[in-house]
């Protein structure tokens, strides 16, 4: 909302610097987001009068204007088409700072010779003065201005651009803002006079109003002004409208807009002769009803729209836009002026459905007080009589089905103290509320103040609202600063948070970069997670109003997100990528919110560049990914078994289900080459995926108890076994670790090929023995080692390799 300070001064005295006022308004909730200062560079600009216009000797399109400045006469070269002898104009002499009409930059006016004629000044356009963007011709000033006086005395202004919050529709008006200014600066608010003369003929003989939808139209007021002469509105009104971003049209339309800006109440002027049957009917639109609005567009309406109709047809979409058929035209002589209150929801819905938003609809949909309708009607009627030359019919139409009893709202010192932490005595509370125009009375029974909510406010309904009003007037910057002194809560907070944090930190410690991807995707992408492009997993939930085809389903997997990120970064020539995401997947449930399952998914690419001079690093493989999973689980005190997986996204024979105590936590493996190709990834890539909710549940069961390290030395023995290729590592290691005093088993070599018989492989283990209570003797170790070898021989037909 644009608020020119000069206009505000019609209703309230302003005697503090404008920057201070802007700051105070901002603190009070009316955020001044921009300040435009008009005329602060007009030191050398004065009012002049054109006394002669002569042709330029050397240029057809230029003329020589002689300007009377009181003390002296100046002749300047001018290209403007609207030079008229006798007009008052704004004259800038050399040294003035003006906006360049073409570049829009501030420049200092210098003496110039234009086509051989010296010019020592300039007759200014609105754009050159910084008033508007108009550069079509020079600004013509009102004839009553005094020649030679500074232009700033007449035209300088400061315009605040104020962001109005949705609860303060009343401040979408100059008066609303002026009331705020009065309250926060301690000045008196001055209400304009609303009186006018009425003619003899009663309004009842002109028209009647019927509200068929009283739930949607709490109040409908109207007046009739007869004998209007349509013409332009006065310059001052046009100026104010333009300053506030509205285009002047004619005196009648301008008055409705002017009063809307002044009071915040939208009004509509109908050409009375186009209202059939002398009747205004407020009703819901019929489904599919069609009408032409003022902008010339054909509108198809639905029962969500509220209409203003006459006896025959619709004449306006209520609260949104008037109809073409009853528009005010140059031939209009009688005006039916509407000032009504409409239900905010119906205007909001209607405006959305029609994709049509107007100055009127944005005010109505925020909610206006029905009491405002009559006050604003009186003001507009007065102005029409005054500026349109009309006679006002006697009386007003006022149909008010939504009139509700006023409920005063109570507030006490205790309420203020309880919410603000400030001790403010009742008389002061009354003073602060009174400065906003709220009427207070003392309730003797309760000791509280009862506050009557005035007609312009629609946002005060409870005590907390009044406390905010007090705080606004006191100034939010005067509220004290204390720290919480209340009791600390019991309980321990969401336990997933520290767990997730620990998992993230561990992966980061393992060299992984965390990524975060979108939870929305499409069917094609989900299908690409299977080698044969089938949707695996549950049917995902869909978005009813997706922003694009790519973002229409809620993800049921994290896999596509990390694969996409990997591919994208490989295209940037990144290699040796290790990344992970922890995020939610959404599993639909019957008639309920989806299960939000928290998952971890990580990827390792196999491309390791030889870019370090001292050593060649090996490529990553299945075991790189498995190692991460093992590290993660062992940190939680869990030992997993890895069983061949039938997960379709993994390469057959190179994928494992991760199981703890028989329960599957996730998978690890090489991504199936076809799936990889679906995401444009060339080289092998290894994936791990773990259900964090399950992992947390399992790790929570593990009770951690410290174990003392043995004080006695350990001893190591190596064995190299020759064994059938089919026997897996974990079975051998399992047998070895089952023996007493064996504290660690490490595979340090795996070999098959030359020197090894076909169908066999060689595994070399280092077995570490240690006793908690004594130093082991060689005999003890040898005895166990022998037993181990015997057991391996009988169990797996393993022989020693010498």
């Amino acid at each position: 909302m644009k608020a020119p300070l000069k206009w505000l001064k019609d209703y309230v005295e302003i005697d503090i610097p404008y920057r201070e006022l802007a700051y105070k308004l901002t603190l009070a909730g009316l955020e001044v987001s921009d300040i435009k200062v008009i005329g602060d560079s007009w030191d050398n600009v004065v009012v002049g009068k054109i006394t002669a216009v002569d042709p330029h000797p050397n240029a057809e399109r230029l003329r020589l204007a002689t300007v009377d400045l009181g003390q002296k006469q100046m002749t300047v070269v001018c290209g403007a088409p609207n030079l008229v002898v006798g007009d008052k104009i704004a004259f800038a002499s050399v040294g003035a700072t003006l906006m360049d009409g073409h570049t829009g930059k501030l420049t200092e006016l210098k003496p110039a010779k234009i086509r051989g004629v010296a010019s020592e000044g300039m007759v200014c356009s609105e754009k050159e003065l910084g008033i508007s963007d108009n550069h079509e011709g020079i600004l013509v000033l009102p004839a009553d201005l005094e020649i030679g006086k500074s232009l700033a005395d007449y035209l300088a202004d400061i315009i605040f651009d104020i962001d109005i919050t949705p609860n303060r529709a009343d401040c979408l008006s100059i008066m609303g803002i002026a009331r705020e200014v009065a309250a926060i600066t301690g000045k008196e608010f001055r209400m304009p006079d609303l009186s006018y003369k009425e003619s003899a003929r009663d309004i009842g003989s002109y028209a009647a109003v019927e509200i068929k939808a009283p739930d949607l139209c709490p109040r409908y007021c109207a007046s009739i002004i007869n004998g209007i002469k349509i013409g332009p509105s006065p310059r001052w009104m046009q100026d104010r409208l333009m300053t506030c971003g509205m285009r002047p049209i004619n005196n009648i339309v301008d008055i409705t807009n002017y009063v809307m800006l002044e009071f915040g109440q939208p009004l509509h002027a109908f050409d009375y002769k186009e209202i059939k049957g002398k009747k205004i009917i407020v009703r819901r639109a019929a489904e599919g009803e069609v009408m032409y609005t003022l902008d010339g567009a054909e509108r198809k309406l639905s029962s969500d729209n509220l209409m203003i109709a006459d006896a025959d047809r619709a004449v306006a979409v209520a609260g949104i836009m008037g109809g073409l058929s009853s528009e005010v035209t140059p031939g209009t002589a009688v005006i039916l002026l509407e000032s009504a209150n409409f239900n905010q929801a119906v205007i909001h819905k209607g405006s959305l459905n029609l994709k049509l938003s107007s100055e009127a609809s944005t005010r109505f949909e925020k909610g206006l007080n029905p009491e405002l309708a009559l006050v604003a009607l009186k003001r507009a009627t007065q102005l029409m009589a005054e500026l349109g030359g009309g006679a006002v019919a006697r009386g007003l139409i006022d149909v008010y089905p939504g009139k509700s009893a006023k409920h005063p709202v109570p507030v006490s010192s205790k309420d203020v103290a309880r919410l603000l932490g400030m001790d403010i005595q009742l008389p002061d509370i009354r003073k602060y509320l009174g400065s906003l125009g709220l009427k207070c009375s003392l309730d003797d029974k309760t000791g509280r103040i009862l506050v009557d909510i005035p007609w312009w406010r629609n946002d005060i309904g409870c005590t907390a609202d009044l406390v905010e009003e007090v705080a606004r007037v006191v100034g939010y910057d005067n509220i004290p600063t204390t720290m919480l002194s209340s009791n600390l809560p019991g309980g321990e907070g969401a336990s997933m948070v520290p767990f997730r944090q620990e998992v993230r930190d561990m992966l980061v410690a393992c060299g992984f970069q965390e990524v975060i991807t979108y939870p929305l995707t499409n069917l094609d992408t989900l299908k690409r997670l299977s080698p044969d492009l089938n949707l695996t997993g549950p049917q995902p939930l869909a978005i009813a109003n997706p922003m694009s085809r790519d973002l229409e389903l809620l993800r049921t997997s994290l896999r596509f997100g990390v694969l996409t990120v990997l591919a994208r970064n490989q295209r940037n020539r990144e290699s040796n990528i290790r990344l992970f995401e922890i995020g939610k997947i959404f599993i639909p449930r019957h008639k309920d919110l989806p299960v939000e399952q928290e998952m971890l998914c990580g990827l390792i690419d196999s491309v390791v560049p030889d870019t370090y001079w001292a050593a060649k690093s090996g490529t990553a493989d299945f075991y790189s990914a498995k190692g991460v999973v093992e590290t993660l689980l062992s940190r939680q005190g869990l030992q997993a078994t890895f069983e061949s997986s039938d997960d379709g996204a993994l390469s057959p024979g190179k994928g494992a289900d991760i199981k703890v105590n028989g329960e599957k936590l996730g998978v690890v493996g090489e991504v199936h080459p076809r799936v990889r190709a679906n995401f444009d990834i060339q080289d092998p890539v290894f994936l791990f995926e773990i259900d964090l909710d399950k992992l947390k549940a399992l790790s929570g069961k593990q009770q951690f108890i410290y174990q003392a390290a043995s004080k006695f030395p350990s001893t190591g023995r190596d064995i190299a076994l020759l064994i059938d290729e089919q026997v897996t590592y974990d079975r051998i290691a399992g047998v070895i670790s089952s023996f007493p005093l064996v504290v660690d088993v490490k595979l340090f070599d795996l070999y098959s090929g030359e020197q090894i018989p076909a169908g066999k492989k060689s595994l070399a283990f280092r077995i570490t023995y240690q006793a908690p209570d004594h130093t082991l003797t060689d005999e003890e170790v040898e005895t166990i080692q022998k037993k181990i070898i015997e057991k391996l021989a009988t169990e797996f037909d393993a022989g020693l390799r010498s």
Binding site: A464, S486, V497, V565, E596
Partner: protein
């Protein structure tokens, strides 16, 4: 005995010639000058000798000892310099690059969220979480925003394609973390002090300053006698800890339907110090938080008596903080996951 001393002297000198390393030199020292060496034992036995003998032998033995110690020192010096010489010959190019370590990193959103949460945890807040797919009730109604409330226009919503038997469509992607307030108050009785970090979603065309997915941290404190002054103290303290103790804070009235009175908190621009620049849009202030006293209707809806209890709530955007701090020019960098971006945090 004199002859013994001379023998020691000559064999010591002879042996010293053969010494080539520091280890051998130490062995030589132990052998000839150590506590158990012949020379030292002779010196120790002097006291038992007659006076004449004591003088001659003593003088001689001490002379030898001094000579040997001098030779030792000299030899040590010789050896040291030759060791240094050979070490110098083996010197390396210290300008060659060091072995690279593969450093993992947290996403900047995660890092910032932690930073915010840690400050509130230190003030006694606990972390709460809620679902990202929500009921309209928790996202709007319970927060004092019934259908057609004008403030809903500020929350362009992604609706989930789910219809009830009555044709209503009550499931959505949460547009803010505020529903966690409601869920918390429904489950826990005061005293309450929670913060709720999480992701939120809006129906929004993306550009350099708009992203349809972003993160928020919500906060809520409810108990007897919690005031706006507590809100101010808590959040000013937070702002100073996050942005620096010399930051100034601005506390102004703002409107959110679920609080009353409502507040917006801004800090003075750390780029221009409040004079006005591009970062702060020439206002000198940077808005960081929306907050307010929990609306009595919201408390009542959660079964908490607003005549007995009061509380404050606040919410802030997470990505905005690194954007401001590090001059990130495009919010879309956060979730496009370019490693060249992510690696910088």
């Amino acid at each position: 005995m004199l002859s013994q001393v001379d023998e020691v002297a000559s064999s010591a000198h002879a042996d010293l010639q053969k010494v080539t390393g520091l280890d051998e030199l130490e062995a030589w020292r132990v052998r000839y000058l150590g506590r158990k060496s012949k020379l030292i034992s002779i010196l120790r036995s002097l006291a038992a000798l007659p006076v004449d003998e004591r003088r001659d032998i003593g003088a001689r033995a001490n002379q030898v000892k001094n000579q040997l110690e001098a030779s030792l020192a000299q030899k040590k010096e010789e050896l040291d310099s030759s060791v240094n010489l050979s070490l110098t010959r083996e010197s390396i190019d210290i300008s060659l690059p060091g072995q690279p370590y593969h450093l993992g990193r947290l996403h900047p959103t995660t890092k910032t969220t932690r930073e915010i949460c840690d400050i509130f945890i230190s003030m006694g807040f606990q972390i709460a979480e809620g679902p990202e797919v929500e009921w309209e009730y928790y996202n709007f109604e319970a927060l004092n925003m019934p259908a057609e409330h004008p403030a809903r226009d500020g929350f362009a919503t992604l609706w989930v394609d789910y219809k009830t038997e009555t044709g209503a469509r009550p499931m959505l992607m949460r547009t803010h973390t505020s529903p966690v307030q409601i869920r918390t108050m429904e489950q826990v009785k005061p005293p309450i002090r929670v913060i709720a970090p999480g992701r939120v979603y809006r129906y929004e065309a993306t550009d350099a300053t708009h992203e349809w997915m972003f993160s928020q941290v919500e906060g809520l404190a409810v108990d007897k006698n919690i005031t706006m002054a507590d809100l101010k103290g808590t959040l000013f303290e937070f702002a100073r800890r996050l942005f620096g103790t010399d930051r100034k804070c601005r506390f102004r009235c703002d409107y959110f339907p679920f609080v009353e009175p409502g507040v917006e908190i801004a800090i003075d621009c750390f780029m221009c110090g409040g004079k006005g620049c591009r970062l702060c849009g020439n206002s000198g202030w940077i808005e960081i938080l929306g907050a307010g006293m929990v609306h009595p209707e919201v408390l009542r809806g959660c079964g908490i008596d607003p005549e007995v209890y009061s509380g404050f709530a606040f919410g802030m955007g997470v990505e905005r903080i690194p954007i401001l701090r590090f001059g990130i020019d495009d919010i879309r960098h956060f979730y496009s996951n370019d490693l060249r971006f992510l690696r910088q945090f």
